[in-house]
């Protein structure tokens, strides 16, 4: 199974100049764990911010989230894969890079994102189809 079947195509994003507080608000409101951080330039210049970044780099350190910009805690560059990569290849890359999501790109354009949960979900579908799950 290719990852484009299980990628999320609606990627929530936030402007790099906004505050960590804005990011928290958006994540809580949409019940998501990461946001694409939009820096000026092309899609490949963007970064990503996760709930983990906010908790460890801001809240746990007692920093007021309104005082810190998303750009200063976002991870850059994003890790991209091709849309015809298999789930096994994507999960191997996640393990190697110690990340919980990879972006799916077509050239310079981001077309989706695949998280660990998406990979687990896809593995259940593959079992139901009687396909090999590695």
């Amino acid at each position: 199974m290719k990852i484009d079947e299980f990628m999320t195509t609606r990627i929530a994003s936030i402007d790099a100049d906004l505050s960590a507080y804005d990011a928290i608000e958006k994540m809580v409101d949409r019940r998501i764990r990461s946001l694409l951080v939009k820096f000026k330039g092309t899609d490949s210049d963007h970064g990503v911010i996760t709930a983990r970044d906010i908790v460890f780099k801001v809240l746990a350190k007692g920093i007021d989230p309104t005082d810190i910009k998303v750009s200063s805690i976002a991870a850059k560059p994003i890790v991209c894969v091709n849309r015809d990569v298999t789930l096994a290849e994507a999960s191997a890359l996640m393990e190697k890079s110690h990340i919980a999501r990879v972006f799916v790109c077509e050239g310079e354009k981001i077309v989706g994102v695949v998280s660990l949960l998406d990979i687990m979900t896809a593995s259940l579908i593959m079992r139901a189809r009687g396909e090999h799950v590695s």
């Binding site: 195509t9 579908i125 189809r129």
Partner: protein
């Protein structure tokens, strides 16, 4: 076959089973056609979806007629009829959505999401067919039922985000807005009905074993 082991598996039963399988295969083909119609923006394919619905109707009638003519033990008959009717409901949603597609003006970003929903509907239908075949072989349907629920949940999530975007789109008149709303509601209802069909298959499976 599992059913053969449990029941006196006669010609009528065989015909019902064959027709249910044909019904589901036709549905999967219609879902694929609709996905292609959307992906390639080929509105001619909509006609084929409508034809499939018509063929589906006649298969459903044949299934029910055979069941009423005495196929299967009486306690199983209502559930089998109900299953055929739910599959028919999926055909109806699909046809209605395909016909709305001929008229609707979809903004590009909404269109992309709807193409994805159509693709997931087709994949979900494949699982429904796999479930039916697994039931005939007496297999446990737990994994298949979960897969159907996963697809449904995914489409549900997409529906919420599509509707959120839909609210921002200015519409020229009432009918344009209604068509857009009906189209989105229809394309996402297909998976709801397919989930019902999957649930019903589980019920049939359990009652056959008890």
């Amino acid at each position: 076959m599992f059913l053969k082991k449990i029941f006196d598996y006669g010609k009528k039963e065989e015909q019902v089973i064959e027709n249910i399988k044909k019904h589901l295969e036709l549905l999967c083909n219609a879902c694929d056609l609709f996905h292609s119609a959307m992906e390639e923006n080929d509105k001619n394919l909509v006609g084929e979806v409508v034809d499939s619905e018509r063929k589906g109707d006649s298969i459903r009638r044949e299934i029910i007629a055979n069941i009423y003519a005495g196929a299967f033990l009486p306690y199983l008959r209502p559930d089998l009829c109900r299953f055929a009717e739910i599959v028919d409901r999926v055909f109806d949603f699909l046809q209605e959505t395909a016909l709305n597609y001929l008229e609707v003006k979809l903004p590009e970003h909404i269109r992309d999401e709807c193409v994805r929903v159509a693709f997931l509907n087709a994949r979900m239908c494949e699982i429904l067919l796999i479930s039916f075949e697994a039931m005939l072989n007496g297999e446990d349907l737990r994994e298949k039922a979960l897969a159907i629920r996963i697809y449904e949940k995914r489409i549900d999530d997409m529906e919420f985000s599509i509707i959120r975007d839909l609210r921002q789109i200015p519409v020229d008149d009432f009918w344009q807005g209604r068509l857009l709303a009906d189209f989105v509601s229809g394309i996402t209802s297909i998976s709801d009905a397919m989930e019902d069909a999957g649930d019903h298959l589980q019920i049939i499976n359990v009652s056959m074993k008890s």
